[in-house]
Symmetry: C2
Subunit: 397 residues, 2 copies
């Protein structure tokens, strides 16, 4: 008989806990896991999706627009607390000795950024104490408290991050992310129908895929596993099978580009300034930041700057630039399309192939940016899917 794993962290998302039937199935998964595991940590998201009463979006909809992020945080955190208590109850009804903890009771400390906090540390003693008496400890994901005891949430997908961070902090043997998807793919299969399943991906590549817009695993979750030798397995909530293995180290045996991804709908600005460039840029960027607008794809030349902002913020950014009396152009709707792969670092000619591929399909790259692990182009929204397809054909197939 193989030796039991000492500790496994399993995370269930909102759709996996949506109904009593779904929770029943989640309990079945946990019961099966207990056969090969001594102790189980179960991290949960809020139950269900928009429309279900305890889902994050439904809770947020109870508030009017101008609510403070702190109030939103405390309201949203209730979704996962409710879910944790309910899941512990379901596990016990299913014959497992389970106990539930909120994020703050589990010792999860954050940096205090409301609505998008990072976990800075975990005081594991509280979880370890709970594990002494219970086989399974359910922990409310997506939340923690800052050093003043203030509740914070971790941003969309944050329960993934909770699971991986807890796995690292508790020296778990394995982290399982139960997902209602069939796999992690080389591209979003809704946009690129011939996308391929990725049975293995390095944590670093997964992180870049996630930051570039792939929605399967929260980027900070992948990030958290990088520093530790902690395997993450994405399992199908439906079949229970492992669909993708996320390995902490770079993979030697794969091609250097793992996939393509597209980000949200944005507008691309180019702004011409005057005077001393450093003064102009400091003024422009700090005024945009003061609007709480997040910018991407910065590039500057001379006294001119290009950047993108979320499509919904186009109006207020335009107004600001007009107030500054600068000439500018704005293009949209656009999207950033990227090729991702930490292995491309140092390879020559990739950018040339990237631009040639887009050009061969008649697609204008309005702007490009690159890092050691990604090359991205801003394209018209109408060109997005064909850009993904042509890049996938060029680099992934």
């Amino acid at each position: 008989m193989p030796e039991k794993k000492k500790l496994v962290v399993a995370k269930f998302g909102g759709t996996s806990l949506q109904s009593a039937e779904c929770r029943e199935k989640a309990v079945d998964h946990c019961r099966a896991l207990m056969e090969g595991t001594e102790k189980l940590i179960i991290v949960v998201s809020a139950m269900g999706r928009q429309g279900d009463p305890y889902a994050t979006d439904s809770l947020l909809n109870l508030l009017s627009e101008e609510s403070s992020t702190g109030e939103k945080d405390r309201l949203m955190a209730c979704g996962e607390v409710i879910s944790a208590m309910v899941m512990a109850s379901s596990l016990r009804a299913g014959g497992l000795q389970a106990e539930a903890l909120t994020g703050w009771e589990a010792g999860i400390k954050t940096d205090g950024v409301a609505g998008n906090a990072r976990i800075v540390s975990v005081e594991t003693s509280l979880i370890e104490k709970a594990l002494e008496s219970a086989q399974a400890v359910v922990i409310a994901g997506f939340q923690g408290v800052d050093r003043h005891g203030k509740l914070n949430t971790l941003g969309r997908g944050g329960a993934d991050t909770t699971a991986v961070v807890l796995g690292v902090a508790l020296k778990a043997d394995e982290v399982l992310l139960f997902k209602t998807v069939e796999s992690i793919y080389t591209a979003d299969p809704e946009k690129v129908p011939f996308a391929k399943k990725l049975t293995r991906i390095s944590a670093e590549d997964l992180r870049h895929m996630a930051w570039q817009g792939a929605k399967v695993v929260h980027p900070r979750a992948a990030e958290a596993s990088l520093s530790a030798e902690l395997p993450i397995l994405v399992r199908s909530f439906c079949s229970g099978n492992v669909v993708t293995e996320v390995v902490p180290k770079p993979l030697e045996d794969t091609r250097y580009i793992v996939g393509v991804a597209a980000g949200p709908v944005v507008s691309g600005f180019t702004v011409g300034g005057s005077g001393k460039p450093s003064v102009f840029f400091a003024r422009l960027f700090s005024r945009v930041a003061a609007l709480s607008v997040s910018m991407d794809m910065f590039s500057v030349w001379g006294c001119s700057a290009a950047f993108t902002v979320p499509e919904g913020d186009t109006g207020k950014v335009s107004a600001l630039i007009e107030e500054m009396e600068c000439p500018y152009t704005v293009k949209g709707p656009c999207a950033k399309v990227s090729i991702v792969g930490a292995g491309m670092h140092g390879l020559k000619g990739v950018m040339a192939r990237f631009c040639r591929a887009l050009d061969s399909a008649g697609i204008d790259a309005l702007q490009t940016v690159d890092s050691h692990a990604t090359i991205s182009a801003l394209v018209s929204l109408e060109d997005r899917d064909s850009a993904l397809a042509v890049l996938h054909r060029e680099f992934v197939e």
Copy 2:
């Protein structure tokens, strides 16, 4: 122009916050209060009643029976947190500068008894800080944390207690309890149709009425006001008018019995023991307590004991006594009916009139108990309403 009150605490119960329309009306009440008040503390219960998704009972229904009281506490506390955040948002939408705090953020410390905690102290500095920037601070009622930081709830009606305790701690000018009732009555008008409205009642009498089963104000809320010179006004949520004034000092100008009340449905046990009485009673009562069954109407004579337990616990208490091999009888369903009035202390002949009144209506008192402010009899459930009526006629009219 009359001087403004410095600080008023206003509490809204679940039915007063059930729908967006109700919350709108609650905001109207708050706006009207702000005209005569510098700062407002608003204490809220969970929104709605059984069936509404965020009501206490609906949250509890998500759990299976055997959940720990600690988990129930943390789940239930979400109801008031959600309510507080939503109410603050509604107040802001209505033009008031409002901020929301959870019970623990408001510095409410409890004794750690899950599901039925008492507030032991309030660290008011956190609320005072919030009051510096906001006109109105909304606080989640019914909750606090013990010295280990564990969430506790205060038991049914606990938001009343939160409001009064905060009123005392913050030296408020006044506590307003908005209720969807027309008045506090001399008896439950559903059971005694000729019950009279009480426009004034002393906090002590109100407390006894509540402990004996009158449901309008949480007994610990009345208790909390006893030690302070703090007036509590029960206001109609519908009309906004004051319906009953709860005065901290005994009233000089009222009759000595303020009302009659009936408790929940119970079973009456009599048990015969053997051996040394003190040993037998210690064994019996500690074994019943170990079942988490709350007992009432204790009386002991020789080696025999009588007591009541909630009707739902009859089976397990019977089983325990059979296991102890003691002779016993159990009568039920029964109810305790009481006359209440701190003024009856020292008066002669009250017990005689009490028994005569029941007898005149052909009602058997299965057992009686009395204190300085109450006289109670255990009667068959079918006799309950006529017992209340005859006692009301004898003592209140």
